[in-house]
């Protein structure tokens, strides 16, 4: 390990850059502040640097492909991107089988954790404007760099004690410059540049074109997610989150999302009043047609952000009286512990956990013609009870985020925090706890199963889409399956071919060995 070079001036940067030590002994773990499938986030102190508080994301590298391309990209971005609204890494180094990413400690935690702990019905519009504007600054910088974030959501927006807001988690971000190899060769390739094809992100926040487009998607997909995040901040959770993830996808594809639907169906009774500017801003982000959504720079000029206040306002109205990140994490852990205890009797261990959870939650599907919605039927609960709905959201979010988080770890604000189901306002009653049953082991097991059953889910989704007569999607699906099948066959053939070659080589080797021995004799 290299010796520590504290406060070393970096060549041509015009501010001194602190060098953080690259060995685990220099850090003292203070507290666990988050846990995900393949990473744990700690609050820690960097001993040689006056015990500066840092956050350390410890990633289990065994869970990643050995080229570590995703992780390499993420750490590179966190090194090379420099913007006041983007969370940088101090440094990263391996510790045995884990990678430690040392980052500034954002004491406010993620907006998602703030909301679920203290603002279950969402933040005030003034606070939202500040948070969104800062996020937009970060997004604008990213987009101008040719980067998509691809996982914009409250869980990836962090706040510091001074009210500053930073965008985090570049685990699934992508550069449009690197995605296509056919660049600038003069001949235009079939897939146009600046477009990405792979489906990545977290379903509730995903833009429709990310989910089903065959022409690819680009910067405007982030704008959609930004719009969803606005709603998340306003209501305390993303729209359609009362539906399981796969259905949220269908809804988004088949139906233009409208603000009013959201208010009617979810905030019945105590509907919040939002300004016209806010609604207009969100609506523009949630246009089904990506080209009609505004760019980040255009959004920044939207009236909604005109009179937005400074970070002091957030300190006063959001951070004041908020439990610390550590406390919030502890509460969520206790909640989970209770869940585990409750779970013991009816949980079948080792089995495909997520399906288990799913099955227990939903006993069937109802097609609601009036609302043009698919409603899940839950066996034991009354369906229009908003508390139950909220709990349902908590549980589903966990499944969802974990399911997608293999390569998208939340920095500083791990998925587990999302399990904090408005603990301050609605103390968990028994019904909630039984409803919200899961534990980490089941989760991991479930995720493995989920991974394996992706094809299965795809099948189910196509069936549902058939229900709507959405044949186009189905054909596309079939093509994908066909391609996958052919690829598998090709792979098998290749393998066979290779084995034969190996055998041949081996025989040659033996023969030559034998003849050599003969000569020697």
């Amino acid at each position: 390990m290299k010796p520590l070079m504290a406060y070393e001036q970096e060549g041509h940067h015009h501010h001194p850059k602190v060098q953080f030590p690259l060995d685990s002994d220099s850090y003292k773990i203070v507290d666990e502040i988050g846990i995900g499938v393949s990473a744990i986030v700690y609050k820690a102190e960097c001993i040689p640097l006056n015990s500066t508080t840092v956050a350390i994301k410890s990633i289990d590298l065994d869970q990643f492909k050995v080229d570590f391309d995703n992780i390499r990209r993420e750490t590179k971005i966190m090194t090379l991107f420099s913007h006041p609204n983007i969370l940088n890494a101090h440094c990263s180094f391996t510790v045995g089988r884990r990678l430690w990413v040392v980052m500034p400690f954002m004491s406010g935690g993620s907006l998602q954790s703030i909301i679920s702990s203290s603002f279950p019905d969402g933040l005030s519009e003034q606070c939202i404007a500040i948070v969104l504007k800062e996020t937009l600054n970060a997004l604008s910088y990213l987009h101008n760099q040719g980067h998509l974030h691809r996982d914009i959501k409250a869980g990836n927006i962090l706040m510091d004690s001074n009210g500053s807001v930073k965008l985090a988690d570049f685990g699934v971000s992508a550069s449009v410059y690197e995605s296509s190899s056919g660049y600038g060769s003069g001949s235009s390739t079939s897939s146009s540049p600046m477009m990405l094809m792979d489906m990545t992100g977290t379903p509730y926040w995903m833009a429709p074109e990310v989910i089903h487009s065959h022409t690819g998607y680009s910067f405007k997909a982030d704008i959609w997610s930004f719009g969803i995040t606005a709603l998340e901040l306003a209501h305390g959770r993303p729209p359609l989150s009362h539906l399981p993830p796969s259905k949220s996808l269908i809804m988004k594809i088949t139906k233009r999302f409208r603000f009013s639907d959201y208010e009617d169906s979810i905030n019945k009774g105590k509907s919040k009043k939002f300004s016209k500017a806010f609604k207009d801003m969100v609506a523009s982000c949630l246009d089904q047609d990506p080209s009609k959504r505004p760019s980040t720079d255009k959004l920044l000029r939207h009236p909604f952000f005109k009179s937005s206040k400074g970070s002091d306002f957030l300190v006063k109205h959001v951070l004041h009286g908020l439990p610390s990140v550590e406390e919030r994490f502890r509460v969520s852990k206790i909640l989970r512990k209770n869940d585990v205890d409750d779970d013991d009797e009816d949980d079948v261990e080792g089995e495909s956990g997520s399906e288990l959870v799913k099955q227990r939650r939903i006993s069937g599907w109802n097609f609601n013609e009036d609302g043009f919605e698919l409603d899940p039927v839950f066996p034991t609960e009354s369906r229009d009870d908003s508390v139950v709905k909220q709990v349902r959201f908590g549980g589903e979010t966990i499944i969802l985020e974990k399911g997608t988080s293999e390569s998208s770890l939340n920095l500083n604000s791990p998925e587990a925090e999302s399990s904090l189901v408005s603990s301050t306002t609605t103390p968990p009653c028994e019904e909630q706890q039984t409803e919200n049953t899961f534990n980490v082991e089941t989760m991991v097991g479930g995720l493995m199963a989920l991974k394996k059953s992706l094809d299965d889910q795809r099948q189910k989704v196509s069936e549902l889409i058939n229900l709507f007569g959405g044949e186009v999607m189905n054909k596309e699906d079939q093509m994908v399956q066909l391609i996958e099948k052919l690829r598998m066959e090709l792979e098998t053939e290749r393998q066979k071919n290779f084995e034969l070659e190996m055998e041949l080589e081996f025989l040659k080797f033996q023969i030559s060995g034998a003849s050599n021995t003969d000569e020697n004799d």
Binding site: F219, S295, D297
Partner: protein, 403 residues
Amino acid sequence: MPEKSLGLVAGGEASNGGWMRGVVGLSEEGFKMMKGICISKPGGATSRAVAQRLRHPAAQSDSTPTSSTLYDKSSSTKMKGLFKSKPRTPVDIVRQTRDLLSFAARSSESRESKREEKMAELFKNLRELKSILYGNSESEPVSEACAQLTQEFFRENTLRLLITCLPKLNLEARKDATQVVANLQRQQVNSRLIASDYLEANLDLLDILIAGYENTDMALHYGAMLRECIRHQTVARYVLESQHMKKFFDYIQLPKFDIAADAAATFKELLTRHKSTVAEFLSKNYDWFFAEYNSKLLESSNYITRRQAIKLLGDILLDRSNAAVMTRYVSSKDNLRILMNLLRLFAAKQNKPPDIVSILVANKSKLLRLFADFKTNKEDEQFEADKAQVMREIAALELRDRP
């Protein structure tokens, strides 16, 4: 639609803004204010035409009608932030960039008063070059403009200047420069990759890029450029056969993960991309290469290094073009012993990385047969014991993982 032109200009602003913040030490608030002013400042017709020309440089001519027509066709977006009034062609921009780089190369930190101004101009030019080569969110790159740019770029020593001056640029400009250099490696002029020709005549530039791994600030920029340059077979051959190759064994174990991972990606690219060159290199350099590979990588104390090394070794040996090398490798008792130790390590592990498991399972029969057939001339109890253990573990794996 409107987003595109904004992308171009706002990009320039971001760059300048970042630079100003760095150099002048503006407060965050001040920076935002300045940015705000730029954004709301409507551009004049001239700057719009300039921007349009930049975006459609193929439609080059000195008569304004062409560009204004193009402008009218394009969106109604307000252009802003471009203060230059004289239209410049891609060739102009390359030339000016070259002049500014020459200036940067010879001027020292504080000597010349206009330095900051000129550096700002340089950063802006680099951003513009990037826009021409990659297009922006609204328009795709125009191949003719790219070709002109590329030709002018390699006509003289612009690449050398850019690479040597890179440490003098600010972070944003370094990133732009890196992307420009990366893109230029793929640009064809009259169906020739002239970047390859240029590099072939200037192979010492590769020495600078590789040495970048020893400089924390430059490593990721030079590393990214390097990976693009070794797309050219002659360049890859030069690097493979150079003395630098030995340094990679250290670079990929540097303590900073982002740099080590970048070096590992380059190392892998060098050893897998150009099949025939790799095969030739390995057979010529077999002895020292695999001696280093075994001792420094496969037997490294760093778990991650070992895991990456065994995967890469598999990729190398199992490539059909390297069949002869593979045969030679597996005929060595020492090699097999090292591999067996690794197998023992991985096969006995409780939570085996999925890629290791799949390799073991996919090759279990081959592995078992290989070990069974492998006999040493003289008695070697330890070797036989190790072998037996590994075979047991692989066999057990087979049982466990059978559906």
